[in-house]
């Protein structure tokens, strides 16, 4: 017994974090869904969920309960074992990727020296769940969704990977923790040093997580629900959880590599030091709003729920406030989590914004965009960035000048590629006409 405890002692904190993530993530994913529905409603001139709890705050919990209690249907002709296993693969891959994401200076399960590679490798394993699920359903819609998904992921993984290489070149490490440190040391987030890489990663990550306008595999209006068509209840919710976990993972990668991880914005500017008080004050503000709205709710239960949410936010504000004032040593650790989650949410908000604004690409157009535009551009970007870095490190040019020039060169190539792509589209148009 003693030896077991001795063995576990150094792993106690990571284990605690792991349990925390597995326990909290489904809830967080549920609230991301609520956020999505509220953002969508806001853009579409309506209110969104308002019935379950005040302002729909309990909707995710009600949805989760409903999904758990639903009848679990396995189609008769389905390949039962694979059907059973496929969602588990997806959700496991999605959750496993969190192991190497640094939520703050202290909050990191495994500080791997190949952290980024690990995340990318593991999260792309999730595709097996989608392909196998689509195959095992024994339905045409599912199969087509699964095949689309496989092709799409393979194509965009390349572009996204090359974009990450650009970030890695700047950081000089694959360890996620050291990336954040490198950005803090250089005093600038990498998004400003290689904006093109960030943009490519943004597009590729939308495609990788199968979100609109690249949601081919689900393509509600074409394939009903793609690979998820035959899934219901708990299995379906696992896929759903995997999708939202993946969203958080790609947002986490982008935050870590391009947006400075858990670092506060303007960390180096001394007169902006009071920004340290923003996190606790933000939560106090939210809590105040909840308390203000609580008596205005129509039903007693809703009043109580609103007040409880207010209390929760006050509770969250407490450690942030303590860290900001009394215990400066804890500040980085505690505030890191806040800023990290805030940046992740901002990134996800961009996802939602895109989703509700654009129509959906067609499959061949999506492939076209990937192979003829994003992949060449990402390769050119890595090369020109490399040249810029050589100029900076060997020839002694200043960093902004060297990287500014390399970005400009990349943008010129991007213009050229877009021009060529347009011409190609023009050619295919005339082909269509001559066929007709």
């Amino acid at each position: 017994m003693q030896s077991i405890i001795e063995f576990l002692r150094p792993h106690a904190l990571p284990l605690l974090y792991a349990v925390l993530i597995v326990a909290v993530l489904p809830l967080l994913a549920g609230y991301v869904v609520l956020l999505e529905r509220k953002v969508m409603a806001d853009m579409q001139a309506r209110l969104g969920p308002m019935r379950v709890g005040p302002h729909g705050l309990l909707q995710p919990i009600a949805d989760a309960l409903k999904l758990l209690l639903k009848e679990d249907i396995i189609p008769e002709r389905a390949d039962k074992w694979i059907f059973w296993m496929a969602p588990l693969i997806s959700v496991t891959a999605g959750l496993l990727a969190f192991a190497a994401l640094p939520f703050g200076p202290g909050f990191l399960i495994a500080d791997l020296n190949i952290g980024l590679l690990f995340i990318v490798a593991i999260s792309s394993m999730g595709i097996f769940g989608i392909v196998l699920g689509g195959w095992a359903s024994n339905s045409h819609y599912s199969l087509m969704g699964a095949l689309r998904s496989a092709a799409q992921l393979v194509s965009y993984e390349v572009a996204g990977g090359m974009a990450l290489v650009a970030g890695v070149l700047l950081a000089g490490t694959l360890s996620t923790r050291e990336m954040v440190d490198a950005q803090a040391a250089q005093g600038v987030w990498f998004i400003f040093l290689c904006p093109v890489a960030f943009f490519i990663y943004l597009v590729a990550s939308v495609a990788e997580t199968n979100r609109a306008p690249f949601d081919m595999p689900e393509a509600e209006s074409e394939l009903v629900a793609g690979y998820m068509t035959e899934f219901s209840g708990f299995r379906w919710s696992l896929y759903f959880l995997a999708e939202y976990a993946n969203m958080i993972v790609v947002a986490g990668i982008a935050t870590t590599l391009f947006l400075g991880g858990g670092a506060r914005p303007f960390g180096g500017v001394s007169w902006l030091r009071p920004l340290d008080f923003f996190p606790p004050l933000f939560f106090v503000g939210v809590a105040g709003f909840c308390f203000y709205r609580a008596p205005k709710q129509p039903v007693l239960v809703q009043k109580l729920v609103m007040a409880a949410f207010g209390g929760l936010f006050l509770l969250l504000a407490l450690p942030l406030g303590v860290a900001a004032t009394i215990l400066p040593a804890w500040k980085a650790a505690v505030h890191g989590g806040f800023w990290f989650v805030a940046k992740v949410m901002l990134y996800i908000y961009v996802f939602l914004w895109i989703r509700f604004t654009f129509p959906r690409y067609r499959f061949d157009q999506l492939m076209h965009l990937g192979w003829f535009f994003l992949i060449p551009l990402s390769i050119v970007n890595v090369m020109s960035l490399g040249i810029g870095l050589v100029l900076h490190r060997q020839a002694g040019w200043s960093l902004p000048v060297a990287l500014g020039l390399s970005t400009l060169a990349t943008l010129v190539v991007a213009l050229y590629l877009a021009h060529v792509g347009e011409q190609r589209a023009g050619i295919s148009d005339t082909e269509v006409e001559s066929e007709a």
Partner: protein, 379 residues
């Protein structure tokens, strides 16, 4: 190069030599606009053949007509194209009037014109929203429904019903316009003109939208005429055929308006044509509202309608195309036979021609661009 679009073309071999897939799209599918069932033969994702299976909403409207009096049958036509009930009703009422040899008074004709044009706007709005939704733009439908609501409110105030209005009676109108009808319609039209520009800003030059609609579902003018296609799909091929101009009815001969036409006959042109039609409808409404003649709203045709024996065909330009009624009278109070020429049904014939050689994603775009209502297809 083989002509992959002609209906007679059948593929024996797929590109990779693999089996072709047959999938059933519908009758329960998010974007078949009701209960259309399309059997698609696919080579991978490419469509090599299609068959529309209809009839899931068949109610025998034409047969019902033989057991109702002329007046009793009027509400039934509203249930065919239920998103453009006013237009259906206008076509039926005018056909029976023609059979009777009667004519609605001028005031009734102008009010009919205004309401029918409002209905055209409402129908096109629903088309725009659902079409955009099919192509993956989630947001426009809510804006479209918001504007459509204003029109439905005008209908509701006018006759008490919002969807299946039964707004007109044979011989004229049953109801006088309500107080403030003119002001409300004018305010709607003036606001709506800005709203159309807003929708166009969302979609017209959007790269994804253009990519999804340009060159998709091309129909040449000859093909369209051969297949009997009417309405915006015909005009998008460059044929300026609009019954409002060609054979004016109601009060259309009094107003200035243009017939928008396209060039390529693809989904994008059909979109542009319908957007321009929205503007033209506003133009007609604004002209009509300026000068509604006073006078009676009902012609003197008596309570019991007994048309002389004979037959008549009359058609009007509904939002979806030419809706025509062929009525045979045997001199009794009930029609001997009623046959409807529904635009949705006949436009749907072009589906196979348009869809061949395209991808699955284009199938929903083409169903959307045809603007069919299954209630009218199946009757």
């Amino acid at each position: 190069m083989a002509d992959t679009r002609s209906p007679a073309f059948t593929v024996e071999q797929t590109v990779l030599g693999a089996d072709e897939i047959i999938i059933n799209m519908g009758p329960q599918h998010p974007s078949t606009h009701g209960v259309l069932r399309v059997k698609l033969r696919l080579d991978g994702e490419r469509v090599i053949g299609s068959e529309c299976i209809i009839g899931y909403l068949h109610r025998g409207v034409e047969k019902i007509a033989e057991h109702r009096t002329y007046t009793q049958f009027a509400p039934y036509v509203d249930r065919m194209d239920y998103v453009a009930a006013v237009s259906n009703g206008l076509g039926y009422c005018e056909t029976v009037e023609k059979l009777l040899g009667a004519e609605a008074p001028p005031r009734a004709r102008v009010v009919r014109t205004i309401l029918t044009e409002l209905q055209r706007i409402a129908s096109h709005l629903l088309w725009l929203g659902t079409h955009a939704l099919d192509i993956g733009a989630l947001t426009p439908i809510f804006y479209c429904l918001r504007e459509r609501e204003e029109i439905l409110k005008i209908f509701e105030k006018y006759c008490g019903a919002r969807l299946t209005t039964h707004a007109f009676r044979i011989g004229g109108l049953q109801y006088e316009t309500y107080d403030g009808f003119e002001q409300e319609t004018r305010r709607f039209c003036e606001d709506f003109r800005i709203k159309v520009d807003e929708y166009e800003r969302l979609l017209t030059e959007n790269r994804i939208w253009v990519g999804r609609t340009k060159g998709v579902g091309i129909l040449t003018a000859q093909q369209a005429i051969d297949l009997g296609v009417t309405g915006p799909p015909l005009r998008a091929c460059g044929v300026a055929w609009d019954i409002r101009k060609a054979m004016p009815y109601a009060a259309y001969d009094q107003y200035q308006f243009d017939i928008p036409t396209g060039k390529n006959g693809d989904t994008y042109d059909r979109y542009l044509v319908r957007m321009e039609e929205l503007r033209q409808s506003i133009r007609i409404c604004l002209q009509a509202i300026e000068n509604i003649p006073s006078g009676p709203i009902m012609a003197r045709i008596g309570k019991v309608l007994k048309p002389p024996p004979g037959e008549v065909y009359h058609s009007i330009e509904a939002p979806k195309g030419e809706i025509g009624y062929y009525i045979v009278s045997d001199g009794t109070t009930q029609p001997y036979r009623v046959r409807v020429r529904p635009p949705s049904f006949i436009n749907l014939q072009a589906f196979d021609t348009m869809v061949r050689g395209h991808l699955v994603a284009d199938v929903v775009a083409i169903i959307g661009t045809l603007d069919i209502v299954l209630g009218e297809v199946d009757r």
